[in-house]
């Protein structure tokens, strides 16, 4: 299958596919980060995670329309505000959902799964009623359009670079928050031993609520970043939920590093295979490989050594 290409061409193909894989990687990491917090740390299966993402995407869409109509001079910078708004709306909705639904179900994980699926159906229909069934796209500011010419045959789209930068920033921020801040310490303490954490004076209910809100907020930011490279429809969230869960499980729950490593391997495999096979077969093979590995090694790539 390599016969038709010269060595230079092949190098360029691999570089471009590799870069496409890196963009996919960034999106996967963003999506999986929120879930890694909610599922990995809290053990809650949130099937509505994709809808929190889409909520962020719609917020970005609203922001871009608003800036275009009323503040065209600030339009180049709208995206930063949009991300903040996406984080706050999704996070607030997440905290509301935790308060109204999830907190009754911590002891029944399988039921949480069903309840959040119901929530996802409701949110989908709400999106459809409010924003219409058609997919919407945001207008990119001019500085995000175009590509950087690296060599003659390799060029790199700027919006992809931007998404990667955002991902890096958020990942570092989340890692600092979880592993270096007082809040993160409390989160980890509650997840490792709820009773003991309560005994030393941590308000476990509050920690649960903020953790869930944080995870949902990050999903919102992921959705916001997602608008840079794709359009948004009411059911877009559902397309990604399986991939996202597989990434978190494959990485080994409760390990941020594992999540990143698994997002990297899955996205690179998929984008490299996509060049040689049809898109659907690439996806099938990637997912099959992940499921196969998980059957042999259910604990995932990285495991946290905790005495239970």
């Amino acid at each position: 299958m390599f016969g038709d290409y010269s060595l230079g061409d092949l190098g360029a193909i691999f570089a471009m596919q590799g870069f496409a894989g890196l963009i996919l990687f960034s999106v996967y990491v963003l999506m999986a980060l929120g879930l890694a917090i909610i599922f990995g740390q809290m053990g809650v299966i949130n099937m509505a995670h994709g809808e929190f993402m889409i909520l962020g995407a719609y917020m970005t869409y609203l922001c871009s329309s608003f800036f275009q109509a009323h503040l065209p001079s600030l339009f180049p910078a709208y995206f930063f505000l949009a991300m903040l708004i996406a984080f706050l709306t999704s996070g607030a909705l997440g905290m509301l959902v935790e308060w109204g639904l999830i907190r009754f179900l911590y002891k029944r994980p399988l039921d949480t799964l069903l309840a959040t699926w119901g929530l996802s159906l409701i949110l989908q229909q709400a999106f459809r009623s409010i924003f219409g069934a058609r997919e919407v796209g945001v207008e990119l500011p001019s500085w995000l359009i175009g590509s950087v010419q690296v060599t003659d045959s390799i060029e790199v789209p700027i919006n992809g670079l931007f998404v990667m930068a955002v991902t890096t920033l958020i990942t570092v921020g989340v890692a600092l928050l979880i592993y270096r801040s007082r809040f993160g310490q409390q989160v980890r303490a509650v997840m490792q031993n709820r009773a003991m954490a309560g005994a030393v004076g941590i308000d476990t209910e509050k920690v649960d609520r903020y953790t869930f809100g944080l995870g949902c907020g990050i999903a919102g930011v992921a959705g916001s970043a997602f608008t840079m490279i794709g359009s948004t429809g009411p059911t877009s969230g559902q397309l990604y939920i399986v991939d996202t869960f597989l990434i978190v499980v494959f990485g080994g729950a409760a390990s941020l590093l594992g999540t990143i490593a698994s997002a990297f391997s899955i996205s690179q495999t998929q984008s490299t295979l996509e060049f040689f096979l049809s898109g659907s077969m690439a996806k099938v093979l990637t997912l099959l490989a992940v499921v196969g590995i998980l059957m042999l090694r259910p604990q995932g790539l990285f495991t946290l050594k905790v005495r239970r």
């Binding site: 069903l114 409701i122 042999l296």
Partner: protein, 389 residues
């Protein structure tokens, strides 16, 4: 209603673990009367065929009661087994519909039309067994069960369960859908396998065929309920419940936990496969839209609404949710998803045991009291507490 129940209950007082309790015989009789007599008399051909379609989902819900309710294994991939059973049936019917005479306008006569459209010139190897009806009938159950065996054995031996198992089964449902849609030439793609005509020369599209298939389907469903009831009442059923509630204790008592779980999962897969095959026969096509994540999780809600611990509840739940879905989507298509979503949440938060739970707590005690007052008090039956449920 009184005399057989009474006679039966008399004979069963000697056995403290009867095959069915009197109240369960009553439930069975009610259900059988509804699907075998009342509905066929009341509904026209089109509506009856629709009910037949719903009843094929009830097979899946029934399997979920055993697998999820009793064994505690939530599978979000039952659509896979429903679909595999349905596709096996559809492949046989499609081959029969694509005889060389029927397909002589194609560039390769004798193969299904969608293969011809996709420039495939000979029948792929995995289609060949479906030329024979007996082999097809075996494969309808065998393919999904073997698939379920491989998945579940690999996972339960490694003690993967609970939410992880749910996520993996969901991923498998997604993979299979993508595969079927992507491999259009071999599977019919997104449209599925359509234009099915005859079953071994018998035209399945006529009204009389629809009627006969409805009764075959209803009969099979009652047969499956009886099998599931046997499993539930047997020692095996007790072990499943024990495993669900305290897996380690069962393991330390010397039972092979994985083996029992695999059995429960495979039984559920077999039921789903029978449902899938009957679906294909009654509805006349099979498509990937019955395989994926959404139908799989919807089938879980049927079992949840009916009551995850009740075999009869599963059938009632399926009928009720589907009836609601059809009537809602006919009049208020926008509201249906809100309704379904609210149903998921309500069932989990407010009625974890579904309709059967309401029945068991509200209606059954009164009914038992009423029946009990009609005859001499019988201490062996009167206190109606379901053991270990």
């Amino acid at each position: 209603m009184t005399s057989p129940v009474q006679a039966l209950s008399k004979s069963l007082t000697v056995n403290d673990n009867p095959y069915m309790k009197p109240m369960e015989w009553l439930s069975l009789a009610l259900l059988a009367a509804l699907i075998l007599i009342v509905l066929p008399l009341l509904l026209d051909g089109f509506r009856l065929n629709l009910v037949g379609k719903y009843l094929t989902y009830a097979f899946v819900a029934l399997g979920l009661v055993i697998c999820w309710g009793y064994a505690g294994i939530l599978s979000l991939g039952q659509g896979v087994f429903f679909g595999l059973g349905g596709y096996c049936m559809a492949m046989y019917l499609k081959l029969e519909a694509s005889s060389p005479e029927n397909t002589k306008i194609q560039s390769t006569p004798g193969i299904p039309d969608f293969m011809d459209w996709n420039q495939i010139t000979s029948l792929p190897w995995f289609w060949k067994p479906f030329n024979s009806l007996p082999l097809t009938l075996i494969l309808v159950v065998a393919v999904p069960v073997v698939f379920a065996l491989v998945i579940s054995a690999a996972m339960f031996k490694r003690r993967v369960g609970g939410t992880y198992f749910a996520i993996i089964t969901q991923a498998i449902a997604a993979i299979l859908t993508i595969l079927i849609v992507g491999q259009q030439g071999y599977t019919g793609g997104i449209n599925g396998i359509t234009d099915l005509r005859t079953l071994h020369g018998w035209d399945i599209r006529t009204d009389s065929a629809h009627n006969i298939l409805y009764f075959v389907n209803a009969g099979l469903l009652i047969g499956c309920i009886l099998i599931a009831q046997y499993v539930k009442r047997s020692k095996l059923g007790r072990i499943l419940v024990a495993m669900r509630d305290k897996e380690d204790r069962v393991r330390f008592s010397g039972y092979s936990v994985a083996g029992f779980k695999v059995f429960a999962f495979c039984l559920a897969a077999a039921f789903a496969a029978i449902g899938g095959a009957m679906f294909t026969l009654q509805v006349g096509f099979m498509s990937p839209s019955f395989v994926g994540i959404v139908p799989s999780i919807e089938m879980v809600i049927y079992a949840a609404v009916g009551g995850r611990l009740s075999l009869f509840g599963a059938v009632w739940g399926t009928l009720l949710v589907n009836w609601a879905k059809t009537s809602f989507s006919e009049s208020f298509p926008d509201l249906w998803l809100f309704g379904l979503g609210a149903l998921f949440i309500a069932v989990v938060l407010a009625f974890p045991n579904g309709l059967a739970g309401i029945w068991r707590e509200q209606i059954e005690p009164r009914l038992t009291r009423r029946i009990g007052s009609l005859r001499a008090p019988d201490p062996a039956i009167a206190p109606h507490s379901a053991p270990a449920e």
